[in-house]
């Protein structure tokens, strides 16, 4: 019995290390491909042909060929740390670590990104940074509620336990699932909530936070976005416990939904974004938690 337990623990440790390494290598490839597909599908929705699927990679590789220009020499450090902590977050997630730790690490990464915006020092990047902060304030409650809900459903905060739990958390957490899907729009920087960096060339903000970042530094930001995609989608995946196939299908569906929303909604004001996210979190997220705790 004891031997068996030890082997099992070693196996789990090994699997988690392999998952972490796989994420390190495949994470950005997956993120880039999804972004490429995203651009292609968006183009088709707009009646265009769209760029090649590999376009995001071309963009990043091109940015590395460019000269590095800066406003202040210290500014790029914030980007390095943004990337570092995004990768760190993803590795924690794929190694099956504590979900709360994953969220805190993600927050830390996002804060470095915001500080990068402030450091840019132009009106556009500072406004972008402030808006990114508002976005963080908007999605943070729902993301934390997801962790709380997962714990209530599976009795563990560990991603590793959640994805191997026989129960499907979504059966207990439908409200939290809806809420999370809602704020995922913010996190994936999709319209109507793409207030801080404006991927669609909305000109009033120029490029928001990233306005003062160019060449290799911008490439690192793009790579960080690639690294972000797998675990953001992974959050959705968690709702299906050990039903992996179903989980993957729903992840694809949710992502498609996000693209659809991106292409059918105009950008809102931040007031609406914060209020709506908080209300959605309160009704769907917190409501779900209360019902679960009453059911015991």
């Amino acid at each position: 019995m004891a031997d068996c337990y030890v082997i099992n623990r070693e196996l789990i440790a090994m699997v988690s290390i392999i998952m972490g390494l796989l994420y390190l290598v495949l994470g950005p490839l997956f993120g880039g491909l999804v972004t490429g597909l995203d651009r292609r599908i968006s183009a088709r929705m707009q009646g265009r042909f769209g760029p090649p699927i590999l376009q995001p990679f071309y963009d990043v590789l091109k940015l590395f060929e460019k000269e590095q220009i800066v406003v202040r020499r210290s500014q790029n450090v914030y980007v390095y740390f943004y990337l570092l902590f995004i990768v760190f977050t993803g590795v924690l997630f794929f190694m099956g670590e504590d979900l709360l730790l994953v969220i805190f690490s993600l927050t830390l990464a996002a804060i470095f990104f915001v500080l990068a915006g402030y450091k840019g020092g132009s009106p556009f990047s500072i406004i972008g940074a402030e808006r990114e902060l508002l976005q963080m304030m908007a999605y943070e409650p729902m993301v934390l509620m997801m962790a709380v809900g997962m714990y209530m459903a599976t009795k563990s905060f560990y991603v590793g336990d959640i994805v191997t739990s026989p129960a499907m958390p979504i059966m207990l957490l439908p409200g939290i699932f809806i809420g999370l899907t809602y704020v995922l729009t913010i996190k994936l920087r999709k319209s109507p909530f793409d207030l801080s960096t404006s991927h669609h060339g909305h000109q009033e903000l120029v490029k928001g936070i990233t306005t003062e970042y160019s060449g290799p530094a911008l490439a690192l930001i793009e790579i960080a976005h690639f690294y972000e995609v797998p675990f953001l989608v992974g959050f959705v995946f968690l709702f299906f416990g050990s039903h992996w196939l179903l989980g993957l299908l729903v992840c694809a569906a949710v992502y498609f939904l996000e693209i659809l929303i991106d292409n059918t909604f105009a950008r809102t004001k931040w007031q609406f974004m914060v209020a709506a996210s908080w209300v959605v979190a309160a009704i769907f997220g917190f409501g779900n938690i209360i019902i679960l705790s009453l059911l015991g």
């Binding site: 000269e67 590095q68 220009i69 800066v70 406003v71 202040r72 020499r73 210290s74 790029n76 450090v77 740390f81 570092l84 902590f85 760190f88 670590e97 504590d98 709360l100 730790l101 805190f104 690490s105 927050t107 830390l108 804060i111 915001v114 500080l115 915006g117 402030y118 450091k119 020092g121 132009s122 009106p123 556009f124 990047s125 500072i126 406004i127 940074a129 402030e130 902060l133 508002l134 963080m136 304030m137 908007a138 943070e140 409650p141 934390l144 509620m145 709380v148 714990y151 209530m152 905060f157 120029v206 306005t211 003062e212 007031q271 908080w278 309160a282 917190f286 938690i289 209360i290 705790s293």
Partner: protein, 638 residues
């Protein structure tokens, strides 16, 4: 435990209580500023060293009762209480403040009746005691308290000689109160006799009152009276708790009261209310905001790092009795309401000290919430919060104090370019802020633990923490951004900051980082044994998680050193201003040939998170809860 060992502990404890008071008397008698300043250094360092020696040398003890008796000391306390009451009485009459006068009369007559009537029976077997929690508190008071006193040397010099020549120089009185206050704080954490505890409690109230009124202008006098009024309100509850406890159970000892369990709910509730007034919880929170008129060392020492911690200390003491009861839930709700409302209000504040004050109240709210929950995990989190908050907030207050003297403003909006104007101070502020909410630092660990404790105990209460943390994040990061953003070229000027100020600041920065790196150790040696007893209990953060936090910590420290100093071949260009840049970084060519500069300001969202509306909502809600709390304890009365 050998007798010699016990005597040593007792002597150290008595030294810590007695020495600062003695030092205070000496300092009050020294007319020469320079000589007094030297003495403050010496006395401060002695207190620091002794408190460290006590904790390092005797940290392994679990709980020791000290049956120290002194008739003389009890006489001093009895008359001391009268003198203090008389002082407040006279000052209230002088400034025509009726409310505090009313309370002080009630409180004094209650106690006089009690002591004259039952004085001969008021014998405690053990007047003092030492356990892990009091050691932790003593370390906070000894280290942070003495550092702040040392800081005050330089600060008050600048305060009187450069910044406020119009204010009468009463530094002798100032240091007298400061050291006397330290004495009282040590008294609070080591007292087992509730009468003693109460005496020291009242000393802190009086110190706070006198120090808030230090500037002696109308605003500070009004705020001082508001503070004393609310603290006396708590004091009345404290006195009633003691009297009721004695009349029903014939004891005035803390350990015996805690041993009685649910039988003593009424005194426990009354003590909680006293604790909440001292910890500036929501219906009573306005006094702490008013207290920000005092010189910054006072705000740091009394109103964030130590005195308000006495309030939560009391709550943590009674927390095991609160856990799982209706009263406990209500206490938790008061803490929760306070946390969320004050975190929201902090968003709308641009006065640096006010932001710090609101954040202090919020964090105290979180600690109160944990105490109300009262499960071991929650108490563990509460103690961690006390430690981390005391250090990081002390650092923040002290840095803001210096920045205020240099910029002649404590408006956050005036802190543009601080990172190049005063790089060292800016980094200290950043470390302090990171310490308050960022991932690898202490407060976040505590919040994490609180969240886990809440999910297990009462998932409904998590909502407070979840929304509150989102707000916390917002107001800290925008302040960090303000400091880091460089919108125009500026010269570095960090001169004119005294050695005493730098010493305290550097020591606190080191402490902030050191505590984060060693927190698993602190937890294992000091907190877990206290919370979970001697058994090897389940740790809340597993070793793996602690390890990850430390790795993150390493990365973050790396950050400071990774800032490039020399040219790495980047081309430096101006910021993008739609191509309209003119020479300077933030200047652009406006219509009609004018040259203008852009100004960037932070979001304060005061329409949504305004102080006025939210605080009235918070006060109303929390009064309701406090009323329910008092009501819930009444059945024990009959």
């Amino acid at each position: 435990m050998t007798l010699a060992f016990l005597i040593m502990i007792q002597n150290l404890v008595l030294f810590l209580i007695g020495f600062p008071a003695l030092a205070a008397l000496i300092l009050a008698g020294v007319p020469n500023n320079n000589f007094r300043n030297r003495l403050v250094w010496v006395f401060g360092l002695i207190i620091l060293v002794v408190s460290v020696v006590l904790v390092v040398g005797f940290g392994s003890i679990s709980s020791e009762m000290l049956s120290f008796h002194s008739k003389a000391l009890e006489k001093v306390m009895f008359y001391g209480e009268w003198v203090m009451s008389l002082l407040i009485l006279v000052l209230s009459i002088k400034h025509k403040k009726l409310a505090p006068l009313f309370l002080v009369v009630i409180q004094t007559s209650l106690l006089t009746w009690f002591e004259l009537g039952y004085g001969h029976q008021l014998e405690a077997a053990n007047n003092l005691f030492v356990d892990k929690l009091s050691l932790v508190m003593a370390l906070i008071i000894g280290v942070i308290g003495s550092l702040i006193c040392i800081y005050a040397v330089g600060y008050m010099k600048e305060f009187h000689e450069k910044q406020h020549p119009e204010i009468k120089d009463r530094r002798a009185l100032f240091f007298f109160i400061l050291f006397f206050f330290l004495s009282a704080m040590f008294g609070i954490v080591f007292s087992n006799n509730l009468m003693w505890l109460f005496f020291f409690w009242e000393v802190t109230t009086l110190s706070s009152f006198l120090l808030i009124g230090y500037k002696q202008n109308e605003e500070s006098i009004n705020n001082a009276f508001r503070a004393v009024f609310m603290n006396l309100f708590g004091g009345v509850f404290f006195a009633m708790a003691i009297i009721y406890l004695f009349l029903t159970t014939n004891t005035i000892e803390l350990n015996q009261m805690l041993g009685l369990g649910g039988l003593v709910m009424l005194p426990v509730v009354f003590l909680s209310i006293a604790g909440m007034t001292k910890a500036a919880q929501m219906p009573f929170s306005s006094w702490l905001l008013g207290a920000m008129v005092a010189p910054t060392p006072v705000s740091a020492l009394l109103h964030s790092s130590t005195m308000v911690k006495a309030g939560v200390y009391l709550l943590i003491r009674v927390a095991p009795l609160l856990g799982g009861t209706l009263a406990g839930l209500l206490v938790a709700c008061v803490g929760g309401v306070t946390f969320i409302i004050t975190s929201f209000i902090a968003i709308s504040q641009s006065d640096a000290k006010k932001v710090l004050a609101y954040s202090t109240i919020a964090n105290l709210g979180l600690i109160v919430m944990c105490s109300g929950i009262g499960t071991p995990a929650a108490i563990w989190a509460a103690i961690l919060l006390v430690i981390f908050h005391a250090i990081a907030k002390g650092l923040l207050f002290l840095s803001v104090g210096v920045v205020e003297h240099k910029l002649h403003s404590r408006d956050i909006e005036s802190m543009d370019n601080l990172i190049i104007k005063m790089p060292r101070l800016a980094w200290m502020l950043l470390v302090g802020m990171a310490g308050m909410f960022l991932a690898p630092f202490g407060m976040l660990i505590s919040k994490w633990a609180v969240l886990k404790a809440l999910v297990d105990a009462n998932p409904g209460l998590t909502v407070v923490l979840i929304y509150g943390s989102a707000a916390t994040l917002f107001f800290w990061v925008k302040w960090m951004g303000k400091i880091l953003a460089v919108v125009q070229p500026e010269k570095t000027d960090e001169t004119g900051i005294s050695r005493s100020e730098w010493t305290a600041l550097y020591a606190l920065v080191t402490a902030t980082i050191a505590v984060c790196l060693t927190f698993p150790l602190i937890s294992r040696l000091m907190i877990e044994p206290f919370v979970f007893g001697s058994s090897t209990a389940t740790t809340i953060l597993t070793r793996g998680n602690s390890l990850i936090m430390i790795i993150m910590m390493g990365f973050v420290i790396l950050f400071r050193f990774s800032l490039p100093k020399k040219d790495e071949g980047e081309r430096i260009v101006e910021t993008y201003l739609s191509g309209l840049n003119v020479d300077q970084r933030n200047a652009y060519s406006a219509p009609l040939g004018a040259t203008k500069s852009f100004i960037s300001k932070n979001y304060y969202l005061s329409k949504y998170f305004g102080e006025k509306n939210l605080s009235s909502i918070g006060v109303a809600t929390s009064w309701l809860i406090v009323m329910l709390l008092i009501g819930s304890s009444l059945p024990w009365l009959v």
